[in-house]
């Protein structure tokens, strides 16, 4: 009972960070993931998945690049074990995202952090970490609103892709394939502007870009992203110690 009343108090105090504010803060990411989700649904359908399997992929796996790769490998009849190992490597970058966001959720219970983590994606991470710039802690309910909006948007988009995919001609004509890079540009710029450490941030950003491109000659794309993140974050740490 006392937990309930402190919850209510917190609610009144942090009205700006309510569940619905989280839902609203998700809106800029919806278009990008609608189009990618739609495409994922089309690919999964063509790979021979049933509508129930498409829905389960989005509700349980819930990871864009992972679902594309899984569909491709299922279509090419790779063994189950190979698919699972590949998906693990592709999605292991979430380790870094989850670790980077952990300090902002210190005051929450383990079960709340479990839910926050289970729904963490590149996009909700990007929105949350930008939102966190001005504060020490992130509100669980706000994060839940953000995560659930993204989750439902993704599930509906993939299901729509599975159902209507074959009748929609060329969505690229409307520039929708640029929604995702545009979102990353926006998140990156907002992040750099809000931290006001332009010198270090630009060095980190450029080195991460260079490393991921260089890595593409040697390792898979997802390993390249992890490698670039670890190395350039380390470069950032070293430079901040020097100055």
């Amino acid at each position: 009972m006392s937990e309930l009343s402190t919850d209510l108090n917190k609610n009144v105090m942090e009205e700006g960070d309510s569940f619905w504010q989280g839902v609203k803060d998700c809106i800029p990411t919806l278009l990008g993931y609608l189009s990618i989700g739609f495409a994922a649904g089309v690919v999964e359908k063509t790979a021979g998945l049933s509508m129930i399997e498409i829905a389960l992929m989005s509700l349980l796996l819930y990871a864009g690049s992972g679902q594309f790769i899984a569909a491709g490998m299922i279509a090419a009849s790779h063994p189950v074990s190979a698919i699972i190992v590949t998906i693990f490597f592709i999605n292991s970058r979430h380790l870094l995202l989850s670790a980077a966001i952990a300090p902002y959720f210190k005051k929450n219970t383990t079960s709340k952090n479990l839910i926050t983590g289970a729904l963490l994606t590149d996009e909700t991470f990007g929105v949350a970490i930008t939102h966190a710039q001005s504060k020490k802690q992130l509100d669980y309910k706000w994060m839940l609103g953000l995560n659930i909006a993204a989750y439902l948007n993704w599930a509906l988009a993939t299901i729509a892709g599975g159902i209507f995919g074959q009748w929609i001609p060329d969505p690229e004509r409307f520039g929708l394939d640029f929604a995702l890079p545009a979102m990353f540009i926006g998140l990156l710029v907002l992040q750099i502007l809000s931290q006001k450490k332009y010198f270090i941030d630009i060095i980190v950003a450029v080195s991460s870009g260079v490393i991921v491109i260089a890595a593409s000659f040697f390792v898979s794309g997802s390993a390249g992203v992890i490698l670039a993140t670890i190395l350039s974050a380390t470069i950032g740490l070293v430079i901040s110690k020097w100055r």
Binding site: E53, S98, N108, F174, V189, L193, A233
Partner: protein, 101 residues
């Protein structure tokens, strides 16, 4: 079906593990400082792969239109600081370029 459940489990674990464990620990200061660089690092890596790679191979030619669209998108992001505005301008720019060319 076993593919879906298996992949879901190996995706779930790296997502929740640091949040559940690290939020209970006192992370040393250098660890926090390192983690503070992760957002810019990971976003840049994802953006560079989106803009310059195709099937994990460097391909400027295939990405020319996207690279052109990135310039006004970047400027809008800097001047408006609006995520939604940035996404909409980006989409509109690429659509316009495709229409004109």
């Amino acid at each position: 079906m076993s593919v879906i459940i298996g992949s879901a489990i190996v995706t779930f674990i790296p997502r929740i593990l640091p949040l559940v464990v690290l939020s209970k620990l006192e992370i040393p200061e250098w660890g926090i400082n390192w983690l503070k660089h992760v957002p810019v690092a990971v976003m840049s890596a994802l953006l560079a792969s989106e803009l310059l790679l195709l099937d994990n191979k460097v391909s400027i030619q295939e990405n020319t239109l996207n690279l052109m669209s990135a310039i006004p998108t970047l400027l809008v992001a800097i001047y408006t600081r609006s995520l939604l505005g940035t996404v909409l301008v980006g989409i509109a720019t690429l659509m316009t370029i495709r229409f004109l060319l």
